[in-house]
Amino acid sequence: MTSDINTKPAAPLLDRADTRVRHDAGISGAIRGFLDRVRSGDLGSLPVVVGLAIIWTVFQSLNPVFLSSNNLVNLLFDSSTVGVIALGIVCILMVGEIDLSVGSVSGFASAMVGVLWVNAGWPVGVAILAALAVGAIFGLLYAALFNRLGMPSFVSTLAGLLAVLGLQLYVLGSSGSINLPYGSAVVNLGQTLVMPHAVAYALAAIAGIAVLVSGLRTAARRRAAGLTPQSMAGLVARALILTVVLEIVIFYLNGDRGVPWMFGLFVGLVVAMDYALTRTKWGRSMTAVGGNREAARRSGINVRFIYMSAFALCSTLAALGGVMSAARLASASQQAGTGDVNLNAIAAAVIGGTSLFGGRGNAYSALLGIIVIQSIASGLTLLDLSSSLRYMITGGVLAVAVIVDSLARRSRVSHGRA
């Protein structure tokens, strides 16, 4: 509070005129608001954080190697590739559509890099750009089928799943597998490159400072404009908790190799996507189209362009994920992108809290979700369980996530938060 305790507030703040509403202030208020939201079905990241705690406890008690720095660093390497694909899925789910071909597109992209770079001798950067461009073209194709012919994305991308897998097998030809050169920058990125310890600490500190500074600036602007500013204590607490938690995690990871650059790339993409979805007109339009397509159209939003950007972004990120997984495995093979890649990417987005019903989700759900999925995979591998069991358990977790999503949605509807 400011020093004008003696002077009676002349007029209530612009947004505090309605006396029926309880306005939560300070940290206790923030906690109360959070509990209210959870009770009404606005769960946010809560289920995934609880789920992760349970998963980690169980696996750690079964095998003490699970939470070792070494295993966690590997987990981050592995998370980055499918995580980037899941980020694309978040995009497409925001507008209420789906892309079932992300696995095939990622596999095809890795095959393209192998063929163009290793076999044809193109510069690696050009080969990667070509793979991304082809990924974008697949997305544009789905968008055209959707916008022009009204073909449900479920069907067009299911057709794409098979067709693109066929393309992947075709370009790989009889060899079936291309090894990427060890020691090249791309393979190093996928297998060994980690941030210098100081850089990792600094990045975590910068994240905290960025939260604090942008929060303070918004609060100052709101106060100047006569709106209730965010609680100062809450803001400082949030920035502090974020920084401390990140620094501890990094300290722990630095006990082994450190934070992979590839994971840094993934997190960078997540942060950029979060900004695009929440702070730009494009992101607002994505949410609007996912929530009520006709209302968005009547507001003058170019709905077709929004669908097109969502499909194209999803496929491009799938291609990027494919390139990253080729780097991780140092090879482009017929198996790349097949198996559980598709489902893991979709499961990650949904487990992280992005709704299958459109109009609700955030970029961070890809990050949280893929860590859950990868933890399960890593834990089961450590226990020497076969992939049959891994598939069943991942499938079960996805089912639980979708049930939570559906129940939360029902609760939101009855609490007026749909």
Binding site: A225, T287, S299, R417
Partner: protein
């Protein structure tokens, strides 16, 4: 009520002029040969029974539907609306009957949907202030503009939809049953608003089933019946005349009912005498 006569033409120039507008949905002719003029500083009430085509006409003017045939002149120039964006760009704002709000977005986001300030770094503070200003102008009772629309009542949603239509300083504003979900005070507030908007020189098209509201603010009353023009009236027209234009018959349930009540009243006065 002032004595308005058919000879009294509105002062402003013609904002909108429709000639022979037809709209077909497959086999259904929702609109046939509709003519309509709206002048600056004039409130035109569009009345008609359910299914008369009022909402369809509004949607054609909003660019949501494309007319099957007919011409439209806006601000003296012939125009063809290919989509909602064209209508918004011309300065035609619409409050749709179904409101067309995104339930998953908050009030500010809905008011500014498609017209956000600073597309690459949304200016939330300025948008929020403008939203509060618009809502206060409507004497809205909205607890928080940062709650999703889903948490608002029907009346509050209607107010948000009206506030949104005022955002861009339109030249013509169309309100499709804007007071249907509103309470007494809010209805009066919206009617006041319509008058204020008219006094600023905007053209207003208002659809309502409430003849009292229509008479209170309309300068002209255009009746649609089964998708066709069925007469233009003025606020001094008797209720019976309006009702028979709307229903298409002199002898109808409404006039029989009011006739019966009239007779009862006369009976009681005779008894007293």
């Amino acid at each position: 009520m002032t004595n308005t006569s058919p000879a009294m033409t509105p002062a402003g120039e013609t904002v909108l002029s429709l000639r022979g507008i037809c709209k077909q949905f497959g086999a259904v002719s929702a609109l046939t040969d509709i003519d309509l003029d709206v002048h600056a500083g004039e409130v035109v009430a569009l009345v008609g029974d359910n299914g008369a085509g009022k909402s369809t006409l509004v949607k054609v003017l909003a660019g949501v539907h494309q007319a099957t045939s007919g011409t439209m002149t806006f601000g003296g120039k012939p125009v063809a609306l290919t989509g909602p964006n064209d209508a918004l760009a011309l300065g035609i704002a619409t409050v749709f009957q179904d409101l067309a709000l995104c339930e998953n977005l908050d009030v500010v986001a809905n008011i500014f949907l498609g017209k956000e300030l600073q597309p690459l770094a949304l200016d939330e503070v300025t948008m929020e202030i403008r939203a509060w200003t618009l809502l206060n102008e409507l004497s809205a009772r909205i607890p928080s503009v940062r709650e999703p629309i889903a948490s608002l009542s029907g009346g509050q949603r209607q107010t948000v939809a009206i506030a949104r239509s005022l955002l861009l300083e339109p030249k013509l504003i169309m309100l499709d049953e804007p007071t249907a979900a509103l309470g007494v005070a809010q209805t009066a507030e919206v009617l006041n608003l319509i008058e204020r908007v008219r006094d600023r020189g905007l053209g207003v098209i208002m659809i309502s089933h409430n003849m009292e509201d229509v008479r209170a603010v309309a300068d002209r009353i255009v009746v649609l019946r089964l998708g066709r023009n069925n007469g233009v009236f003025y606020p001094d027209t008797s209720n019976q005349e309006l009702v028979s234009a709307i229903t298409g018959a002199a002898d109808n349930a409404v006039s029989r009912r009011s006739g019966r009540r009239q007779a009862e009243r006369e009976l009681t006065t005779e008894e007293r005498a």
